[in-house]
């Protein structure tokens, strides 16, 4: 059997992949969120309250808290429709700060002392099930009629709208879906970390989620798992220079953006490698 150490790393890779997907999903309609940490926090706090205070079974708490985060995501998604690009990043960042202050001041959720005495209910199995479902849904979605509509929005949303794509509905839907995934990740995190406080879901967490996704690549469904896995393992492998690992982490981000801003995995990468076709030939009708 695998050692507890390996198991904990695998669980963290799983949770971080889920979190990276929560950034990737709104990104499929060109919505960049800098506040996914807030939705993660909503999922974490509410699921913890449900299992600790009301003894609700974990799977139920998991689903309900994910739906709650998704619901809040839809509410945020509507005003977010008017805002795009960097403005959306900052708006979601600001929203996340408001949510963080809510948890910091809410007596019910332990305020500044945090929420403790959470049972350890997250296992490798349930992380794998949740992650598998998310990948399945996203994979099926991208290959459906809706997936082509999403791609159209990503390329040019005005053109997509004139072609009859309901961009309002799809953008809000994907924003809500992303928020729900963050909520699920948060619920799994809470029942593994066993103690949560508002600082777990602040600016740093949101940015971390962005980095996992961007590092792996946001044009391919396989980008988030690659990014999350490498960046979760990175500090473990670099134990021998533990002291300076954050510096390496920062430098890695700069180098990555300089030399490969599209992320490690790109959409047609596997296809290109398999068919030995050059980059220029992709999309060439002849």
């Amino acid at each position: 059997m695998i050692s507890p150490y390996t198991e904990s790393i695998l669980i963290f890779i799983g949770i971080n992949t889920i979190l990276a997907y929560s950034f990737y999903i709104p990104m499929t309609t060109n919505q960049i969120s800098g506040g996914q940490g807030a939705f993660m926090g909503i999922g974490a706090y509410f699921s913890a309250a449900m299992t600790v205070n009301y003894h609700i079974p974990f799977p139920v708490a998991l689903v309900v808290s994910g739906l709650m985060a998704g619901g809040v995501g839809v509410l945020v998604g509507f005003p977010a429709l008017r805002i795009r690009g960097l403005y959306l990043v900052i708006m979601t960042l600001g929203f996340a700060e408001v949510v963080r202050v809510f948890f910091l001041t809410s007596e019910y959720f332990g305020a500044a002392y945090g929420f403790s005495k959470i049972q350890e209910l997250t296992t490798m199995t349930n992380v794998a099930v949740v992650l598998g479902l998310i990948i399945f849904v996203v994979y099926r979605l991208e290959r459906s009629y809706l997936g082509r509509a999403l791609e159209a929005i990503k390329e040019n949303d005005l053109a997509a709208e004139t072609l009859g794509v309901n961009i309002t509905k799809l953008k809000v839907l994907m924003f809500g879906f992303g928020a729900m995934v963050a909520g699920l990740g948060g619920a799994l995190y809470a029942h593994y970390a066993l103690f949560i406080d508002s600082n777990n879901f602040g600016f740093h967490r949101s940015i971390e989620m962005v980095i996992f996704a961007i590092f792996g690549g946001v044009t391919s469904i396989w980008g988030p798992p690659v990014g999350a896995a490498i960046l979760t393992l990175f500090p473990e492998v670099l134990r021998f220079i533990q002291e300076w690992r954050m510096v390496f982490y920062g430098l890695l981000m700069i180098l990555m953006m300089t030399f490969r801003p599209q992320g490690l995995v790109t959409k047609h990468m596997f296809k290109d490698v398999l068919s030995r076709r050059g980059r220029q030939e992709v999309g060439d009708p002849a």
């Binding site: 960049i32 005003p79 008017r82 805002i83 795009r84 690009g85 960097l86 403005y87 990043v89 900052i90 708006m91 960042l93 600001g94 929203f95 700060e97 408001v98 202050v101 809510f102 910091l104 001041t105 500044a112 600016f203 940015i207 962005v210 980095i211 961007i214 002291e243 300076w244 954050m246 510096v247 982490y249 920062g250 430098l251 890695l252 981000m253 700069i254 990555m256 953006m257 300089t258 801003p261 599209q262």
Partner: protein, 290 residues
Amino acid sequence: MIFFQQVINGLMLGCTYVLVALGYTLIFGLLRMIHMAHGEVLMIGGYVALVIIAYLHGNLFLAMLGAIAVTALLGITIYAASIRYVEKGGHLSPLVSTIGIAIVLQEIFTKLFTGEKIAFPQTLVFKNIQVGGLSFNTVQIFIIVLSFAVMFVLYRILKGTMIGKSIRAVSENTETARLLGIRVSWIVVITFALASVLAGIAGVLVGIAYHSIYPLMGIEIGLKGLAIIIIGGMGNVVGAMFSGLLVGLMEVFSVAYISSSYKDAFTFGLMVLILIWKPEGLFGSVTEKR
């Protein structure tokens, strides 16, 4: 007069916010990007002044000059290392790479000075002044007067000098400015130096005002600066000045009359409302697609 005291405190806080926000707004105007390590420039400005006063036994004037020189160079270095070669990658790439720089700088300063708050040496003479029942102290006056002087100088530079006019021209339209013979790459470098100096000065002022600095202070003030440029209108210099003071006053009053833990929620809540209701900001005009 407790109310008057709060107004002075609010102005003092607002002044440092304004200096930070102006840096963001200048850089955003030029490159349409958010410089996420701008708060770290502020933090380093504070530490440079601290080192000069506490370890090299310099005075406040020397400390200020040192902070200005170091942050100007730092700004240019950050641009060269994390922005110059990633600019073309869309919105996200410079955002991520400057966060990378921010992490590196936070870590280095945490290693050098520990992550804890350390005391900022007080060199100004602290004296209470009473004018007709209103009382304020020399430190408050120094910070407010110096900040307004810096804002005025910046305003004059932007309005009256060739460099300032070039900066505004590049902000309005990079290609046209280039065609008119402006060396755009130089203007960008100069703007980074200028913006970073503003943050550096703000860092020293924060040290003087709150008696302590810490390696992560850049994040907190940096995020506030972002909120302020949204409230005032991105790329709008006058808007940044007004909304910086507004946010400073609002925070101080919310601490005084409501609760200290809600002050961040007020600022960011206001920012979210502004984005929904008037995305171009309080002082902005509708010129570009958001």
